[in-house]
């Protein structure tokens, strides 16, 4: 176990170093920071002085070492726009994104398992077919479109006049298909203060109503993917010999589904979850933009527009760091669940 952790740690370290190199190289690629800092009216002498003071005339490897050393001390420089340490800016925006990801992850997990398992146990039921059909839609429609659709339906509202409104049944159908809207379409509202820079949307109904649509549209990719994966895995496992044997032993269906089948189905789900974490980060950019959700994604896009290089680099490093940490955790979980992996890694 310890060797495994150590190995993973070294691997993670290498990934972080690689990200830092990319981040460092990016810094020089997007415009001149001197120009950003001093503005157009500065004299050449002033520029040269600042260039020398910032160490920009040093060889590249020296600059990188300098960058890496400060990064190790959690000093990623100051944002050229906010004139504050980038990490403290990130810390300010992080809770919003974390809550958004958390909400959509909870939504995904709470819904995908029951739906996936149900669709596997009752493959021919009308409800299963419905879920499978909707899941294809969910996977195919891009997040920003889902988000706009959700806003149209639940924030603005849709009034359907497809059926003759004069007849009672037409009126009823129109009413049924129309939505009233009213859900908040942008921003976080006024989240409650928890601690430090952390404000939460989970403490009140109003807060929840603000996070509902963004979380739903973020989950609209992951959820159908998980439903389909869980269903496919469960179908295969339920037809396996060991499930049949579990039945032949006289176990209850509940035990067979939850212990025998689900534990096996979890393995690929966990793997996919880890891989999808990266795309989840990417999707937060889209979701946060559509809903003007004041999180890292929105801030990142703003930083790109302002060519705020230190901030961009920090965002990349932090995102990469989280990605590595999450994937390590997932590897650990996988190992705990799958006894066959342990044997391969520690030959006896």
């Amino acid at each position: 176990m310890l060797t495994f952790l150590l190995k993973r740690f070294i691997q993670a370290l290498m990934v972080v170093v690689a990200i830092s190199v990319v981040g460092f190289l990016l810094q020089g690629a997007l415009g001149d920071p001197i120009q950003q800092l001093l503005g157009a009216s500065a004299s050449d002498a002033e520029r040269a002085a600042l260039r020398e003071a910032m160490g920009l005339n040093d060889p590249l490897w020296r600059q990188y070492l300098h960058f890496a050393c400060s990064a190790l001390q959690l000093d990623f420089g100051d944002s050229t726009f906010f004139h504050q340490p980038t990490l403290s800016i990130l810390a300010r925006y992080l809770p919003a994104t974390a809550e958004l990801i958390f909400a959509s992850a909870v939504l995904t997990l709470l819904l995908s398992f029951p739906i996936g398992i149900y669709a596997a146990i009752r493959p021919t039921a009308a409800l299963s077919r419905f879920f499978m059909g909707v899941s294809v839609l969910g996977i195919s429609i891009p997040v920003f479109l889902t988000a706009i659709g959700l806003i149209q339906f639940f924030s603005i509202g849709v009034s359907v006049t497809l059926f003759p409104d004069a007849t009672p049944w037409g009126h009823w159908l129109n009413d049924l298909l129309s939505t009233r809207g009213g859900m908040p379409a942008y921003g976080r509202g006024n989240p409650e203060h928890v601690i430090g820079v952390w404000y939460t949307n989970f403490a009140s109904w109003k807060g929840l109503s603000y996070i509902a649509l963004p979380a739903l549209s973020l989950a609209s990719v992951m959820l159908p993917l998980f439903v389909r994966l869980i269903r496919a895995e469960m179908v295969e496992i339920l037809a396996s010999d060991y499930v049949r044997f579990a039945r032949a032993k006289g176990l209850t269906p509940a035990r067979i589904y939850t212990v025998h089948a689900l534990k096996n189905a979890l393995l690929p789900v966990i793997t996919l979850g880890g891989m999808q974490f990266g795309s989840l980060l990417a999707y937060t950019l889209l979701t946060e933009t559509v809903f003007q959700w004041p999180g890292l994604g929105l801030m990142f896009l703003d930083a790109v527009e302002r060519a705020d290089m230190p901030l961009i680099t920090t965002c990349l490093m932090v995102a990469g760091f989280f990605f590595v940490v999450i994937n390590t955790l997932i590897d650990l979980t996988y190992r705990l669940l799958n006894p066959r992996i342990a044997l391969q890694m520690e030959p006896r």
Binding site: Y242, A248, K249, N264, P339, R340
Partner: protein, 342 residues
């Protein structure tokens, strides 16, 4: 009253294109302590028969007719929770591939203890003691440490012992063993056969052994049923049936054994393949492949094509063949199959 009585059992798999008749109008009885072999080619419906005895048919298989009585009690139509009490406790199963039978992500201990607990209200300690006792009975060394192991850490033979131990846990009346030795290598096979034999004898457990290994069947069973295309073609005492087969199919099956052919001779084989169970031939299902389908004049025997044969008693065996009397009447050496036995 026999322990298990199966009458006119019909099992079908309705598919989009027609229907598969996996078991057709099949009847047999099993006495307490009796060991019954079921032999036939792949696709004869042996396994389906085995699974239908515990109502574990794979979808869309269904028992559409007949009766299964266990200790005189009708099982067909029993609600699922009653079946559950029967499975594992009164009728246990052993599958073909022990590695696939055991759940890869659960320890041996967990898979055994859950079986005990599905049927008995026992505390962890006494369930564990029961499991350990059973593991010793199937001659597994160091059972204590096996409990914490996973199936992939055990050899195939050891896994099959564990599966047998699970089958034995609740002292069942019947064990249905579906090819229990097929996936094991030969030396282990002998061990497992001996183990099954001893355990069934000691506890007077009835065994239904599904196999296509005539040697294993010969060692393990009292009585033998030969299945072809979902029905029994011949049944009787194992030794007698193997030494003096009456049905043309049984004869062909035994003659196809490599041991039955002298060295340097091509192996004898039965021409043709078993019919698909979705298109079972009329009359005697075996007639298209039967070496006696033509009479002495070279004309097709119409009765074989038209009428399903009833059982004819020949000594202690029952043979489903229209022409069996005729075959016995003709002298032995005129028969196309060599009747010699080893």
């Amino acid at each position: 009253m026999a322990l298990l009585e199966v009458d006119n059992l019909d099992v079908r798999f309705p598919l989009r294109h027609g229907e598969i008749q996996a078991v057709r109008d099949l009847s047999f009885t099993l006495e307490r302590g009796e060991r019954l072999g079921i032999v036939g080619e792949s696709g004869a419906g042996k396994s389906v028969l085995g699974f239908s005895l515990v109502n574990l048919l794979a979808a869309p298989g269904r028992i559409i007719g007949g009766s299964i009585r266990f200790e005189g009690r009708e099982l067909i139509g029993l609600p699922e929770h009653r079946w559950r009490h029967l499975r594992g406790r009164r009728i246990a199963m052993i599958f073909q591939d022990p590695r696939a039978t055991l759940n890869p992500v659960l320890t041996i201990g967990a898979q055994m203890i859950e079986t005990v607990r599905a049927h008995r209200r026992l505390g962890g300690r006494s369930a564990r003691a029961m499991v350990l006792r059973t593991l010793e009975q199937v001659r597994i060394d160091d059972p204590e440490s096996r409990l914490a192991q996973y199936p992939h850490e055990l050899s195939g033979g050891l896994c099959q012992r564990v599966v047998i131990a699970i089958a034995l846990l609740l002292d069942p009346d019947i064990i249905v063993a579906d090819e229990p030795t097929t996936s094991l290598d030969v030396t282990i096979q002998a061990d497992i056969v001996n183990l099954l034999l001893t355990l069934c004898q000691q506890r007077s457990i009835s065994l239904i052994l599904i196999s296509h290994d005539l040697g294993v069947v010969n060692q393990l069973t009292h009585r033998l049923m030969i299945m072809y295309a979902g029905a029994i073609v011949e049944q009787g005492p194992t030794r007698q049936l193997l030494n003096d087969p009456q049905h043309p199919y049984t004869q062909a099956l035994i003659n196809a054994l490599p041991e039955m052919t002298p060295p340097r001779q091509p192996l004898q084989q039965l021409p043709g393949a078993m019919p698909s169970l979705s298109a079972v031939p009329t009359g005697c299902a075996f007639h298209p492949r039967c070496p006696y389908r033509l009479d002495a004049l070279g004309q097709p025997r119409q009765v074989c094509i038209d009428t399903p044969p009833d059982f004819t008693d020949v000594a202690d065996t029952q043979v489903a063949c229209h022409v069996v009397r005729e075959l016995i009447a003709t002298t032995q050496d005129s028969m196309p199959f060599d009747e010699e036995t080893t």
